[in-house]
Amino acid sequence: MTRALARMAAWRLAFTVPLLLAVTLGMFALAKASPFDPVRQYLGDRAVITSPEVMAQIRENWGLDRPVAEQYLTWLGNLVQGDLGDSRSMHRPVIEVIGERLGWTLLAVSCALVLMLVASLAVGALAAWRRDSWLDRLITGTAYANEAAPVFWVALLVIWLFAVRLQWLPPGGLTDPAATTLQPGDVLQHMILPVAVLAFSQSSWLLLFVRESLIATLREDFVLGARARGLRERTVVVRHALRSALLPFITLLGARIPELVTGAILVETVFSWPGVASASVQAALAADFPLLAALTLLATLAVVAGNLLADTAYVIADPRVRVLGVS
């Protein structure tokens, strides 16, 4: 098992390096093709009153007068050494911006993941168990509608209902505007809506998957056998059917990272959550290449790690792969 795992991990890593190189090259090419002048972007309104000499000086300092290939290699060299450059919109080193925001994103996303898992397992199993009832129809109908509804729109409706109409929860941000320090209770209150919306938006596929998988499993002989032995319905569904229906879903989870990133970008933006995902939108609005490039690389790494996790889970969970090796 360890050998199979090591081989697969090595293969993945061998693929990761050229992949990251290709992503950096693609981003750099796009940035070079962009009609925006990074110096003017950096100066903003001050570009009008800045003398051409000063602008030329900035250009020289940033190495923008060098050949394109040299610029790319310098940038890549800096990246490899851990120097991600300075964010032009936030006027700070990129590494500082990410360091400050990454924790908030991880907090919100991991809470949403746990909530999504628990909720879709429970609700999906309920729908499968009560298959074709009005409850099942309601659940699957909501899941399909949720699949089709843009998450930012759902987020807005949720804000309207819970923050504006009922005034139960704050509409966004990390803390109360009047607060001077970070209070856990305050942050928790601000977290509920974004985490719930993110979890809800990601739950449809899993819920429908659990339902389908469980319905198929409930037809299997061993379930019939369990029922024939007179076991309680709950024991049959939870202990026998659900357990074997869950096997494939572990591997699907790792492959869902891209959707999770997409959801995080939109949800963090709507709720003004100060994470890295909303920073990518702010960077994009300001055409802030260093920050946007760093965040894109970070997301790519997350996707690759997710795939690796999925494959690892697959190797561990499926005895055929474990014994016969990765095909």
Partner: protein, 288 residues
């Protein structure tokens, strides 16, 4: 879960779902008619601002209410759907065309070309689509072209995978062997034998891509990175609506979103119906 035999309990579970495809088709036709006919009858002044009529709740005069600068939400929603549909169609066509060419090349050429193309597909799939799209539009000024390019560049991989795997199964079929023995070249096999068989799959991929492309356009516009802000598009309208939301104005956000939700759902209902029909074995398994 009584002792009755499952198939006897429900003779045709599909029956109860049948009306939904008529509703879906009806809704799509109604929306298509609205998008085609309304602009011919009522002109929309994209720049019009009427502050006296701002933030009015839905009424007979304005069935969907008015937004924060007094524009009629209903009329703008119809115009917005038109823009979004157009961009969605073009972007879907671009991505499916690129994907078909890539998938055909990979499946037909095989060997190194296949491996290289599939690694490129893996590479594109490793960057989250929305972030990639954001990256592209951020570096170019907000325009319909930037949105189409960004959706097309990020979504051709799905079609490429479908086409490649179909080509691989087609390659093993006897009539392809016969064509090769008869002296047909690669291009002729692709044109005469692969493409006709692939057409239903390509058509299905295109139909499924349209709502997805619309979703991307609206998401980018909502973030302020898509279409120019004054233009009535569904994403721009939800973005506008978000600003007056805290003042209790729900209609300016709700209705544009419904116009994304309804066509998307309708298309997925129809596609599902079509799949069930096209694959009787699957349908009979569903009825077990």
């Amino acid at each position: 879960m009584a002792a009755t035999f499952p198939t006897a309990r429900r003779t045709a579970p599909g029956r109860s779902r049948r009306p939904s495809r008529w509703i879906a088709a009806g809704l799509l036709v109604a929306l298509a008619l609205a998008v085609l006919l309304v602009p011919a009858v009522v002109q929309l002044d994209q720049q019009l601002v009427d502050l006296r009529a701002a933030n009015q709740a839905p009424s007979l005069a304005h069935p969907f209410g008015t937004d924060e600068v007094g524009r009629d939400v209903l009329l703008r929603v119809v115009y917005g759907l038109r823009v979004s549909l157009l961009i969605g169609l073009v972007a879907a066509l671009v991505s499916v065309t690129v994907g078909t060419v890539a998938g055909l090349a990979a499946g037909t050429l095989g060997g190194t070309a296949d491996r290289v193309i599939m690694r490129v597909v893996d590479g594109f799939n490793s960057v989250p689509h929305l972030l990639f799209g954001i990256f592209i539009v951020a570096l170019f000024s907000p325009s319909a072209t930037a949105v189409v390019v960004s959706v097309g560049l990020t979504h051709w991989t799905t079609a490429a995978r479908i086409v490649r795997s179909e080509v691989l199964t087609l390659r093993a079929r006897p009539f392809v062997d016969a064509a090769v023995s008869g002296g047909s070249g690669r291009l002729r096999i692709v044109r005469r034998h692969f493409l006709p068989h692939l057409l239903p799959h390509i058509a299905l991929a295109s139909v499924l891509m349209v709502p997805h492309a619309i979703w991307h356009e609206t998401a980018l516009s909502f973030l302020g990175l898509g279409l120019p802000p004054h233009l009535a598009s569904l994403g721009n309208m939800i973005n506008d609506g978000a600003r007056s939301l805290l003042a209790g104005n729900w209609w300016a956000s709700l209705f544009p979103g419904l116009f994304i939700l309804v066509p998307t759902l309708a298309i997925s209902v129809l596609v599902q119906y079509w799949r069930d029909r096209a694959n009787p074995r699957w349908r009979s398994e569903l009825q077990l």
